[in-house]
């Protein structure tokens, strides 16, 4: 059926795959009608999709350095866009984003703007130039542009700090989903998740990760959009929710005005299980100061342009031209999900709080709500809670609490969709978390194996040996991440945002100035990376331990401080020391021209 080159056949291969996945959904819904239990459906969805990724991972095995590190630089723009979108959208985007919008409204939506606007910086400032450079990893660029092992090593340190902060959250998310879907304890589920992740990346490196990420994108986008459209149609809110929810948004504002936001006493709030929140912020009103919004958006944008697992995706395109276009496609595929999250939050909120809808629970008697099936299920899962604080017997807006994850996970059930949708959502969340975890673990392992082991410790190592080291590191880092994830130290979203701040503190200016400022030199870059990372981390510790902070910079935006220090240090130290030599200056000139050979060879 399929002849010739794999790359030429990509649309066909993934077309068949998408058709197969849709057929699987239909088969599952028929099985549900015939009496298959909810639990079996969940297991089937997760097991089936993970098995497919493992097969793709196996088929992509390779023994070549450029295939392992940069997928042979032949990934077409649109497919690289899909892979980047999966790489980018983590378990947090998939499971927690709609919940964040649901609870925090406008102040939270700075993340939507930040996590998309950053791609403009990626496309215009960095991706095409780093592609021209021809590096395997981000520290490879820093090490070659500035020269010296110390600069290379510093870049590896920043990369590892940022990516590791991020990856524990992703492994945690795969563990959570695996433990729910497969019904096993979390401590074991984390390792089940880890093994699934390693199956995709171990044998094929970047090549394996690329083709599984495309497959994972297809699963996650179907799993996100199908319920949103279905719920919207079922509620009669509109055939195409994105363009038709204005009435619903204004209805929520009307209800909010009618109910009012009653503040609960600290004593009452003690009853509420940890991690659950009530609706305390207006849905569509502007509820944050301009600086609070802008500083968060800015931190996320600069962080986006500094995160190595995203940047390295653009090393895999066939040309500089393709790298630029590919950033556009990435953002388009991300846009499909991000623009749907606020719609899901709107539908979810309205269906719960509007007393005139059959699903609305506000204004009903407490006993009645407590008798609803889905309430009991989600209450048991510790994601929903009601309590009659004022003792009047009816549920008020301030007496209803929900976990952030419940918006994505529970809304289909509340709206009365069949269970097959919940199974699909679990598979989508798993795909989102796995694809990001894969990208991150690979970024760390590649940086250590290529930049520390091959470039610094043993430059004469043969390809076979290098790839063994790379794979061993992949497993070691994966297990380290899983072990920390099993300790469950911090929430999913908090650590994701920190990763952006760490990355921008240490890497944003050394990367950007490496292309755009010829005068930037080694000493400046080292000072920029070191002082940026250290001052950013110090600020975080200071604020976390009760420090008041300044200029409204919080623990979520500490990268703004870190990167400002990094910029100043880099400029001052660069100007105080010698200008880079003529060869380096020529190299920068060459990077700025798309045509011609890359700076580093195909195999290096």
């Amino acid at each position: 059926m399929i002849k010739g080159n794999f790359i030429d056949n990509l649309p066909k291969v993934y077309g068949i795959y998408t058709g197969g996945f849709l057929a699987f959904i239909i088969i599952m819904s028929i099985a549900e009608q015939m009496g298959m239990t909810a639990k079996t459906i969940g297991i089937c969805f997760v097991a089936f999709t993970v098995a497919i990724y493992a097969i793709i991972g196996y088929l992509s095995r390779t023994a070549q350095a450029d295939a392992y590190y940069v997928a042979g630089r032949q990934v077409p723009t649109v497919f690289n866009g899909m892979a980047t979108a999966a790489d980018w959208m983590s378990g947090a985007s998939f499971v927690a984003m709609a919940g964040g919008i649901y609870f925090k409204g406008y102040g939270y939506m700075a993340l939507l703007v930040g996590w998309t606007g950053g791609y403009v910086l990626v496309a215009s400032l960095l991706a095409p130039y780093l592609r021209k450079f021809g590096c395997y990893t981000v520290p490879d660029f820093i090490g070659t542009r500035y020269g010296g092992n110390l600069s290379r090593f510093m870049a590896v340190v920043v990369l590892t700090v940022a990516s590791f902060t991020y990856v524990t959250a992703q492994i945690n998310a795969t563990g959570t989903i695996a433990s729910v879907a497969l019904d096993i304890p979390f401590q074991y589920a984390v390792y089940v998740g880890l093994i699934s992740i390693l199956l995709c990346s171990m044998l094929g490196g970047m090549r394996g990760v690329t083709w599984t990420q495309v497959a994972q994108y297809i699963v996650l986008i179907i799993a996100y959009l199908l319920p949103v459209f279905w719920i919207s149609n079922k509620m009669g809110a509109g055939f195409f929710p994105h363009f038709m929810l204005a009435d619903e948004v204004s209805r929520i504002a009307e209800l909010e005005a009618q109910f009012g936001f009653v503040k609960n006493s600290a004593e009452n709030l003690k009853e509420v299980p940890k991690g659950l929140a009530g609706i305390t912020k207006a849905h569509s009103a502007v509820n944050a100061t301009p600086w609070a919004f802008i500083s968060l958006a800015l931190a996320m944008m600069m962080g986006t342009a500094s995160l190595p697992h995203v940047m390295m995706r653009y090393f895999t395109t066939p040309s500089v031209k393709a790298a630029r276009k590919s950033v556009g496609w990435s953002l388009f595929f991300i846009f499909l999900l991000y623009s749907s999250a606020p719609m899901l939050a709107t539908l979810s909120k309205l269906s719960l709080i509007d007393p005139s809808l059959p699903t609305g629970i506000i204004g009903k008697s407490i006993a009645e709500v407590q008798a609803i099936d889905w309430y009991q299920n989600w209450n048991q899962a510790n994601l929903m809670f009601v309590s009659d604080f004022n003792g009047n017997g009816t549920l008020e807006l301030n007496e209803f609490f929900m976990g952030g994850k419940a918006v994505v996970l529970a809304t289909p059930e509340i709206a009365g969709l069949p269970y097959v949708i919940s199974g699909l959502v679990a598979a989508g969340g798993m795909a989102a978390a796995m694809s990001t975890a894969d990208g991150l673990i690979l970024a760390i392992a590649n940086a250590i194996s290529h930049d520390v082991y091959y470039k610094i410790i043993d430059p004469k190592a043969e390809t076979a040996k290098r790839l063994v080291v790379a794979r061993v590191l992949l497993v070691v880092i994966g297990f380290a991440g899983a072990t920390i994830a099993a300790l469950e130290i911090q929430g999913i979203l908090g650590s994701v945002i920190w990763a952006f701040d760490f990355a921008m503190s240490g890497l944003f200016f050394p990367l950007v100035l490496g292309v755009w400022w010829k005068r930037a030199n080694k000493e400046g870059a080292i000072a920029g990376m070191f002082l940026g990372l250290v001052s950013g981390a110090a600020y975080l510790v200071w604020v976390r331990t009760g420090g008041s902070g300044f200029l409204g910079i919080t623990q979520l935006t500490f990268g703004i401080f870190g990167s400002a220090v990094s910029l100043v240090a880099m400029v001052v130290v660069s100007l105080m020391t010698q200008a880079p030599n003529a060869a380096t200056q020529r190299m920068v000139d060459e990077v700025r021209v798309p045509a011609g050979k890359s700076i580093l060879g195909k195999q290096h």
Binding site: A123, V249, S284, I294, L298, G328, L331, P342, D589
Partner: protein
Amino acid sequence: MSKQEQHWEKSKGLLMMTLAIWFVFSIGIFLFGAEMNEVTGPFGYPLTYWFTCQGSLGIFVILIFWFANRQEKIDEEFGFSERGDD
């Protein structure tokens, strides 16, 4: 000025224009978030709300493709574009 310098001047000009548009829709408009939200935007959503859900995001997508095309034109003009593949 050499061909390469001219090419870089033009590329820098395009970068500035791209960053200016980026700045307006990621930072500029949100300085006036509260005022703008009083206005009804596309599809009937409050304007600032619409920008955070769809508007700014969509503009970024278009902006990147526009930037990529303009940069390609600049590269072609100076004969610096790559041959062949896409």
